[in-house]
Every structure is written in C-alpha cells, then in structure tokens.
C-alpha cells in the first residue's frame, strides 16, 4: 500500500513538473521546473531498481541539461519566447487528441508486462568472461561496446556542430569572490568524486559518463570563477583530449581485429585492463567535450 502511494505521488509529481516545464508563463520558471523534473526522474529510476541510471540522470539529465538550458537562457535576449493566447487555445484543442492516442499506446503496452527476455540471464551468465563484475558496465563496454563507441562519436559531432555557430558568449564579467573561493575547494572534491565513480563502475553503479559529467561540472565551475583560462580549440592538447576516448577505443578495436580474434574482441585476460583504459580515456574526453559544449571556446585569432 505504501509502495503504491509512493508510486502515485512520484508519477503525479513527474507529470505535473513536465506540464509545468513546458507551459509555464516564463521561460526561466520552465527551466527550473525541468531541472526539478530531472531530479524526480532520478528518484524514479532508483525506485525502479536502476541506480546507474539514477546517477546518470542526476549528473547528465538534470544537472548538465539544466546547466545547458540556463546557459542558453542567459545568452538569449530577455522578453522573447512568450506564447500567444490564440496558441493556448489550439494547444488545449490538440490536447484532446492525446486521450485516444494514449489509449492506443496502452493497448500495445498492456501485453508487455507479462513478457520476459532471455537477455538478462545471458548478460549475467557471461559476466565471468567480460572482465567486469557490474552487468551494466559489461553491456556498455563489452557486449555492446560498438554502441558506446558510436555514442562518443555522437558527442564529438554535437561539439563540432556547435563549433560552426561561432564562439558562445559565456563570460562572467567579474566572478563573485565567493564563487572563486568556493570553486577552489569544490573542484577537487568533484574531481575526487568523478574518479571514484569511474573506478567503482567496474563493480557497482557508476562509469565513464557519470564521472565525465562530474569532471565537466568541475571545469565549468572553475571557468565561471575565472580560475581557469579560456579553452581554445586551436590548442592541440585540448583537441587531443576531446578525441582521446574515441581514438583509443578505435585503436583497441582495430588492434583486436588485426592481431586478435576480431573486431572489439578483447583477448583473454585483457578485458579488464582494456576496459579500464578505455573508460579512463572516455571519461577525460567526455569531460572535455561537455565542458566545451557548456562554456564554449574562446574566439580563435586565426580563423
């Protein structure tokens, strides 16, 4: 009974926040509601037995997306984005269509509650040879490593796409002294937490993406406080850092195909160190890419 109550409250809260995030009068409120939505969602992931995802959602979904949204708001001219009243009426009319659509979706979803998949057993069964003891990490970096590799490429493309749009204006004229002082103590903590998440990923919830976004948060904080110099794309170590994860991953894949048994087939006994190396490189790349996406780069002198 109490579980039902919890579920109902969480679901209602989630849906209300979702509606609010979309239809709040002012955009700032919408963004704040969306961040709250992400946090409630993280609770729901934890409730549904997916702590990995709860961490990822809190770090990436709510945290990072929230920062991105706030940064976008700060860049945009104030006062724009009000929705007209006539549209409000259209929206209400369109909402009436949602009920039959939901009925159709529910019809399709209804039989699923009883079905079972063979994959969870296979995944846990093969865990012994995967090199890690946490099944989610095994899926991400061993069974379906190709997805993860492509996902790093997606992140890179987002960054390249954003680069086409010119330097982002993300400057704080004079950083608050308090932020400066705080960031000095907070940033090492974030670094430590990121390292811990990365390390624990092989046996417990955690992993490269969660760790990478924590590190990125640290970088953004330092940048905001003006402690860190502006990031320059023309500085080649930075580019190397961004590409490191993908390059290393590809190198492992190619080496496995060339010398070993096949594409991304880790040789016996090498799975754990290889996965660890890939994870460390991926974490650094993710941190670098995400911080570049948030704070943007300084204007290039040459281009």
């Amino acid at each position: 009974m109490t579980e039902w109550l919890l579920d109902a409250v969480l679901a209602l809260l989630l849906l209300a926040l979702a509606g609010g995030a979309l239809h709040a009068r002012n955009r700032y409120a919408g963004v704040l509601l969306f961040i709250a939505f992400g946090l409630v969602l993280a609770l729901i992931w934890a409730r549904l037995g997916a702590p990995d995802l709860a961490l990822a959602e809190a770090a990436i979904g709510a945290g990072l997306t929230g920062v991105l949204l706030l940064a976008a708001l700060a860049r945009q001219p104030a006062g724009s984005g009000a929705e007209g009243v006539s549209f409000a009426r259209h929206r209400l009319a369109a909402a009436a269509v949602l009920v039959p659509l939901l009925m159709i979706l529910l019809q399709g979803l209804d039989p699923l509650a009883e079905q079972r998949s063979p994959l969870p057993e296979l995944a846990t069964g093969a865990l012994g040879q995967s090199g890690v003891s946490h099944p989610v990490t095994a899926v991400l970096l061993n069974y379906r490593a190709w997805d993860t590799l492509l996902e790093l490429a997606v992140l890179l493309l987002a960054l390249l796409g954003a680069r086409q749009l010119g330097p982002a204006r993300f400057e704080v004229e004079r950083p608050w002294p308090l932020l400066r002082a705080w960031s000095r103590s907070l940033a090492p903590l974030l670094l430590l937490a990121g390292g811990y998440l990365l390390w624990s990923g092989s046996s417990a919830p955690g992993g490269a993406f969660q760790a990478g976004s924590l590190l990125a948060a640290g970088v953004v904080l330092l940048r905001l406080a003006g402690v860190l110099p502006a990031l320059r794309w023309s500085f080649w170590p930075l580019r190397l850092l961004v590409l490191l994860g993908l390059l290393l991953f590809l190198a492992v894949a190619i080496a496995c195909a060339w010398f070993g048994a096949g594409w991304l087939v880790y040789p016996d006994g090498w799975a754990k160190p290889l996965i660890l190396v890939i994870e460390v490189a991926a974490t650094l790349s993710i941190a670098a890419s995400l911080s570049l996406l948030v704070v943007g780069e300084a204007r290039e002198a040459s281009a």
Binding site: G108, L109, D147
Partner: protein, 473 residues
C-alpha cells in the same frame, strides 16, 4: 568482412586525424574516400561470391552482442556511399565556395562513417545510434552555411530527434515483446499482434519523418536548399536514404506478411502523393536549390511507391527497382545540386529566373543539370529509366494495376515539367544574366561527372539488372 570494416574505419579514423592535426583537408579526404571506395568495391566483390556474411562484434553470441550483417545490398550501398563522397570531394576540393568552411572535411568523413555503420548494422538499437549520428552530422553540415541556415537546421534537428524518439519507442516495444534486438532473430519471432503493429507504426512514422517521405517532408526543402552546395548534394543523395533503408529492413524482414501487405498499400499511395505534390512544388519554386530540393521529395516518392508495391504484392523483383532508384537518384541528384551550386555562385543569384541565357554563359553546368534531369525524368537510356522500367513492368502485366501506372506517368510529367522549366530558361538567349566572374570550367565538368555515370549505368544495363536483382534479395 574485413574490407567492409576498412571502408567504415578509414573515414572515421581519417576524420579524427583531420580534427586533431588540421591539415588542409581536401587532398586527404579525396585519398581517404578513394581508399574507402576501393575497400568497399573489394567487399562487394567478396560478398557476391560468398553470400551474406555476419560478424558478431566483441565475439559474443547474437542476442547479447551487436551483429554486423554484410549482405550484397549492404556492400553495394557501402560502395555507393564511398563513391558519392569521392565525387563530391573532388568537386568540393576545386570549388571552395561549395563547402562553407574547413570543417566540411572532417564532418563529411564522419557522415560517411555514420552511413557505413548504418548499412552494416543488424541491430535495432544500434541503428538508432547510427541514425542520431547521421542526423547530428547532417545538421552540423547544414550549419556550415552560416546564420541564414540556422533556423532550418534547428527545425531539421528537432524533427529528426522527434523521429528518432518515435523509432526508439518502437524499439522498446519490440524488445519488451520479444526480448531481442537483432533483426534476423526478430524476423523469426515476429507475430502480427497488437504490440508489434504499434511498434511498427511508431517506427515507420519516425523513419518517414527522418527520410522526408510524404506527408512528413516539410522540413526538407529549407534545410537542403539552405546548405552549401556540396552538403546539399550529400544530404539529398545519401542521408535521406539511411532511414529509407531501415524502413525497408523493418517491413521486408521483421514485419509479418499480412501486416506488410496492408501497410504496403498505404506506402504506395503516399508515394504517389509525394510524386505529385513534390513535382508541383518544384514547378512553382522561386529558387533554384529549392526546386532541386522539392525534386528530392518527389523522387523519394518513386522509392516509396516501389517499397509499397513490393510489400503489397510481395514481389521481390520490385526490390531491385527500389534500390536502382536509390542509386540513380543519388548520382543524378549530386550532379544537379553541384551544377545548381555552380550556377548560383557564378551568376550571383539564387533565383530560377537568373538562369536566363545560362546556355551561353555556363553551357557546361546547364548541360550537367539537364543530363541529371534526364535521368530523374527517366529518359532512356539512363539509370533512372532502368529503375522506372523495372517498376512499370509488373504494373503493365495486369489491367487492375494500371491506376498505379497512371500515377507514375503523372509523376514523370511533373518531373519533366520542372526540369524543362530550368532548361528552357537557360536557352532563352535574349538578355542573358551576365556571369559575375569567369566560370570555372573544371568545376562544371566535375559537377557533370556523376550525371554521366548515371547514364553509363544504361550501357551495362543487362548485367546490371540481373545482378541487382540478385543483390537485393
């Protein structure tokens, strides 16, 4: 299989190195594309002899791991992708105005890698990731055109994301129902129940949105017309074909026959509408590149019609028509966009009207446009004609199929009309638009190259038809 992997890895590694080391891109990309084309040709040759090959990534068994599936068709598409990238790179290295910025080079390599990953993948979720990769690469490329392209690019990105999420919903449903993501395994398991139907519906809508198939095509013309010329060529010739391929996989591999038959009719009708609406809009488009972009919408109608009839009648020979359309349209459209870009740049105006007298000022580019247009109309003996002939053959055999043939005929008339609209203006020699500066002959030749290739397809028509019939089954 190793050659196919090479054809996929070369552009990917090449792109990363280009970003890291930042050399002058053009020459390197041409070399990468050339090597990748050769590797793909080798893979195609191999696979024609051995039949479909499988590769289980990571060495795990199929339901757990992702599988690569190198069918003859996938190999052909690999070759097609690499070859078109090569043709575009040749032109782009010559005409700097057509690329919008030095970042074109790594982005186009990443686009090629994304497409290659898509053709090879045999896993529904992995296909989702490749789709996202494809759309982000495409959006980044569109954004190269500068501030005026940002709004179309944003619209493209948002709709494309919505399409992906509809697709992902379908994937989740299929996984929930059958517990696997591998396409070959799903094709054995799939039943015609309510969940499968809903999943297929959601996935099809998402993919149709991403492939700009009528009636979900409205985002395409602004995005494709707003991009730099070389980018438009790649987008129209290749990017929209990715989702189309997945759509074909879904309905011809996974969907149970009775579902496929009922959906086939809908696809075919949508195809006819695409032909007519796209043709009509192209005829009325004020700008040259918008005209060419609408012609893509119309031409995708042929592919959709072929897909629909293929499913409706379960007629495997139409599969050959579908893929021949894709090849012929790709080549012709590359030529058309490059020629349009060259004309627009040299004459200094985007309007169709500015082409007045172009047969005097820029005969080569106009000729390239007309030659490519000829294949789009389906004039013999071009590749477009072959495809249309394959499509019409089963239509003529039975009188009750003639209404479809009438639809095809109307579509042909529409495409003839918009191509002639441009060509006729070009031959109007009274008061021609003067060229802003001296036309670049080599660039015009390079723009014509793909169009000549599509006519060459006809020279080898008989072996090609036999062979492509075998490939696409």
């Amino acid at each position: 299989m190793n050659l196919a992997l090479l054809s996929l890895t070369l552009p990917l590694v090449g792109a990363l190195l280009l970003i890291l080391l930042r050399p002058a891109g053009g020459r390197w990309v041409i070399m990468i594309n050339l090597a990748s084309t050769l590797a793909a040709a080798g893979a195609l040759h191999q696979v024609m002899q051995t039949g479909t090959q499988w590769l289980e990534l990571g060495g795990w068994q199929a339901p757990l791991a992702i599988r690569f599936q190198l069918s003859p068709l996938a190999a052909l598409l690999l070759l097609f992708t690499a070859g078109l990238h090569l043709l575009v790179a040749l032109y782009a290295a010559r005409s700097r105005h057509a690329i919008g910025g030095e970042d074109f080079w790594p982005l186009s390599c990443l686009l090629q890698a994304a497409l290659a990953a898509l053709w090879l993948s045999g896993d529904l979720f992995n296909l989702y990731v490749t789709l996202e990769l494809l759309s982000l690469a495409a959006v980044a490329l569109v954004a190269l055109a500068g501030a005026k392209a940002y709004r179309p690019a944003l619209n493209y990105l948002l709709l494309s994301l919505a399409g992906s999420l509809a697709y992902l919903f379908g994937v989740a449903l299929l996984y929930g129902r059958y517990g696997v993501l591998d396409i070959a395994l799903l094709s054995e398991l799939a039943e015609a129940d309510v969940t499968t139907r809903l999943a297929l519906l959601l996935m099809s809508l998402g993919l149709m949105l991403k492939a700009a198939l009528w009636p979900l095509h409205l985002w395409l013309p602004p995005a494709h017309a707003g991009a730099p010329a070389a980018v438009s060529a790649l987008l129209s010739a290749l990017v929209v074909k990715g989702p189309l391929y997945i759509l074909w996989l879904l309905w011809s591999r996974i969907a149970p026959v009775e579902l496929a038959q009922s959906a086939g009719g809908l696809f075919a009708v949508a195809g006819i509408f695409a032909l007519l609406c796209g043709g009509w809009s192209a005829l009325r488009a004020p700008y040259l590149k918008t005209l060419v972009a609408y012609s893509t919408v119309a031409q995708l109608g042929y592919a959709l019609l072929a897909l629909g009839l293929l499913l409706r009648w379960q007629e495997p020979s139409l599969s050959a028509a579908l893929w021949l359309f894709v090849l012929a349209h790709g080549l012709a459209k590359v030529s058309m966009f490059l020629a349009a870009g060259e004309l627009q740049y040299t004459l200094g105006s985007k309007r169709v009207r500015a082409l007045k007298g172009a047969s005097q000022t820029m005969p080569l580019a106009l000729f390239a446009f007309a030659v490519a247009g000829g294949s789009l109309i389906g004039l013999p003996p071009s590749g477009g004609f072959l495809a249309k002939w394959l499509l019409l053959q089963p239509l003529f055999q039975q009188p009750q199929h003639w209404p479809w043939a009438i639809g095809v005929l109307l579509g042909t008339l529409a495409s003839a009309a918009y191509v002639f609209r441009v060509v006729a203006l070009g031959f109007d020699r009274a008061r021609p638009t003067p060229a802003s500066f001296h036309p670049d002959r080599l660039a015009q030749w390079l723009a014509m190259l793909p169009a000549l290739l599509v006519w060459c397809l006809a020279l080898i028509s008989k072996p090609l038809l036999l062979w492509i019939g075998g490939v696409s089954q």
